[in-house]
Symmetry: C2
């Protein structure tokens, strides 16, 4: 047995009961994005609060007021603030999770009822919406507390908890709560641990220390006073669509190289040490091909592909608003179109930098076209990238715990997307934040047939406990 701690043995020995608790949580269809499911999100919040209280956690349920969703006014589910232990001699770790889930209907193509946790005995996988994202990890923390109590083991750290019910739908109100609590419930927090992402593949555990930021742009080109018939006006006028294709073809090459001058220069240089981190990550290019559903990776070199996701910016063109988008053959000259693209940001690119570079470049390129159409570039949203130091005791504790539980050094990964709350915790509390995933890369968090492997739930719970133990030793 990888971990010899009594709490670990308790989790191993009582895994079926702990899985029952996971099944009870999955049975509550806490879909935050659909107003008709909102009562279930509240019920899930109450269920979680009760479970925490049963374990002796001091819980404050922070109401967030109403929101309008699909034209209906509904109450936002509360943020649960938890407090477990206040020993000034111990470190205090803030843990984050979310109790809401993505939508799921059997008719979407699920092989089982999405809100009934169902084991496939042959593979040891538990299918059910929220099993991996993020009810499994939240209950992992509860397993750790229970296991310590039942084995009369002292908790090695003080815990603070922040569990929200709106993560899948924009985390409304959460940032304000975190900022407001920074000097209150969270005031003694020494580090943050978030268990809400996944291993890169299916065999190697990882610690995640970076997330990309985002700068989302809308480019409006308008000319004619109304949509025109291409028979009558084709050839006579400057067409906004022609201009848009000319401009957007200057953004990025088919190999993914961003053509906006100045962006590449601001990317933090790659050190040999960092490069090595990607080279040793236990994943194959074919894993990414499988995930993408086709052999369309930009390279056959693993490290190149990993770095393209994790440490370089990328530019994707998403679509056009105002153009013909239906099936069939309409002969329209759209009079006014808005092209949308976004750039994923990495250190040291800020949204402000990128906005300036994009504005300057696109206006220069548009001027070259000699078009009489009107041109406007807007940044619709911007979010900073985040990178934590893996030399911090928080990551060293995560590393040691992983080595104990899984017998191997974790992959150090960055995610290509954004989890804005990570940056909020880092900024508002001024402490190190680590992402410590429980599930695997093939869990299908936002897809049909979401699952969590039995071993990931059991060993993943033990991993969280070992991490807290290591914090107490290393910090």
């Amino acid at each position: 047995m990888p971990s010899s701690a009594p709490f670990a043995k308790y989790i191993e020995d009582n895994q079926d009961a702990l899985i029952e608790r996971l099944a009870a949580s999955v049975a509550i269809a806490s879909v935050s994005g659909d107003p008709s499911y909102r009562p279930e999100v509240h019920r899930m919040g109450k269920w979680l609060q009760d479970e925490l209280v049963k374990l002796g956690v001091e819980v404050e349920s922070v109401p967030l007021g109403p929101q309008t969703l699909d034209g209906q006014e509904v109450q936002l589910p509360p943020v649960l603030l938890g407090k477990y232990g206040s020993d000034p001699k111990k470190k205090t770790i803030l843990i984050y999770g979310h109790y809401d889930v993505q939508p799921a209907l059997k008719s979407d193509g699920w092989e089982t009822e999405p809100f009934e946790l169902k084991e496939d005995k042959a593979t040891g996988r538990f299918y059910g919406r929220g099993s991996s994202d993020d009810k499994g990890p939240i209950l992992g923390w509860l397993n750790v507390i229970e296991a310590h109590q039942k084995t009369n083991t002292e908790m090695p750290v003080n815990l603070r908890m922040c569990f929200e019910g709106m993560e899948e739908s924009g985390s409304n109100g959460l940032e304000e709560v975190v900022v407001a609590e920074a000097k209150k419930t969270f005031k003694d927090v020494d580090a943050v641990c978030i268990s809400d992402n996944y291993w890169l593949g299916t065999t190697s555990p990882c610690l995640t220390y970076g997330l990309r930021g985002l700068a989302y742009f809308s480019v409006s080109i308008s000319g004619p006073g109304a949509d025109l018939h291409s028979g009558v006006f084709g050839g006579m006028v400057h067409e906004p669509m022609t201009d848009l294709f000319a401009i957007f073809s200057k953004l990025v090459t088919p190999q993914g190289e961003i053509l906006v001058p100045g962006i590449a220069d601001k990317v933090a240089p790659l050190t040999p040490e960092e490069k090595k981190r990607y080279e040793v990550i236990d994943v194959k290019v074919s894993d990414f091909e499988q995930a993408a559903g086709a052999e369309v990776t930009i390279s056959q070199d693993k490290a190149t592909v990993l770095m393209a996701r994790m440490r370089y910016p990328s530019l994707s063109i998403h679509g056009i608003e105002g153009a013909f988008s239906a099936a069939g053959a309409k002969t329209v000259i759209p009079s006014s179109v808005r092209g949308k693209f976004s750039i994923r940001l990495v250190p040291d690119l800020t949204p402000q930098d990128v906005e300036k570079l994009v504005q300057t470049y696109l206006h220069e390129e548009f001027a070259k076209l000699g078009s009489k159409n009107k041109f406007k570039v807007e940044m619709l949203s911007g979010g900073m990238p985040w990178v934590a130091s893996i030399d911090h005791w928080n990551f060293r504790a995560g590393t040691k715990a992983t080595e104990t539980v899984y017998g191997k050094t974790p992959d150090y990964t960055r995610e290509g997307g954004s989890i804005p709350i990570t940056l909020t915790f880092a900024d508002a509390l001024g402490v190190n934040v680590m992402l410590l995933p429980m599930g695997r890369g093939d869990d299908g968090a936002h897809s049909i047939n979401e699952k969590l492997d039995r071993s990931n739930f059991v060993q993943g719970s033990i991993l969280l406990g070992e991490y807290l133990t290591e914090v107490a030793k290393l910090a």
Copy 2:
């Protein structure tokens, strides 16, 4: 009075009664595109048949069977075949018109009830759906027949008529009828006259001798197995949208120059004589700016702009199917997109030529991208361009009639769009076809507040009669 013919005096003197008949036809809401209006289209066909019979026209109503429209099965309105005169010593002219109209609701922004013909006394304009497109012109022909009868003037030609009720909705079934009747009702036809278009501007009458054809293309690019999240996959994979923008940026310049090699070479060369035809057309660039709703013409030279519409091909990009097209900011990498563009064709460009050139060029350009995505080019539809000889007696008759009625030589124009039935008549009957419009360029045929000027109805009816008179003299 420009025309001294007795029939012309009758039309002048009885214009208010003739306008009453126009009002009666406008009052029937014969909207072909909406199944709930279909009974009115049939009622309009019956009304027109009765009016023709009253004038002694032999009418055959050809049923076209059922169609499914918006999920409902409805009966297609009949094609009315008319026969008036069979004197072997006279020329036989086939006239075409349509008795259906575009949709219209007061709430669309009409200033008057769309299905009540309403005169604005100050301007002498009659507002109402179908006034100009195409009930006014059809009734113009009836005015001519009535005026000849009432003034005991012998009709100078035999008439054949083809009036349909589906022109605004795809002319279902018409081509088959024309082909089938080529050796029957239409067997002695010497030339065709279609009154279903407009002057270029508001002051100069015109004869139209050309229409552009169309080749409509769909370009499919697909890669990933499903839409991907740009955070997770951005930078790692070849994105279909990037490829599509790269490819479509190679189609046409912002100045309207088509970049597909070989297309320009196949366009019939411009002769000095033809060039002159555009230079003398009575229109200003500002008229086109007004029509387009903005100062976006590709040139400030009138002849250049006219030729861009009338005698050169044009390429318009219409939109993308499968990409993000809504408002807002979605961070999707679309997995499979279909870009749509079309090329307007002029002699001597055939759809077959253009398809081959486009296929070759786009596949070459795609190969240069070095993308692993899949690429497919399809021509969804192709229609030939049409140009008639204006040296034919049919056009000489139209010219002479215009000079008599309006005191000026008509503009010789080509339309930028397609009227497929024109080509069907030309091909199936093997005779000269002329478009002889009644209304003005600002009639708003497919817009709100469609109108026909009183003078265009009265002088336009006389023009049709004078044209028939000239046919008898010149043919």
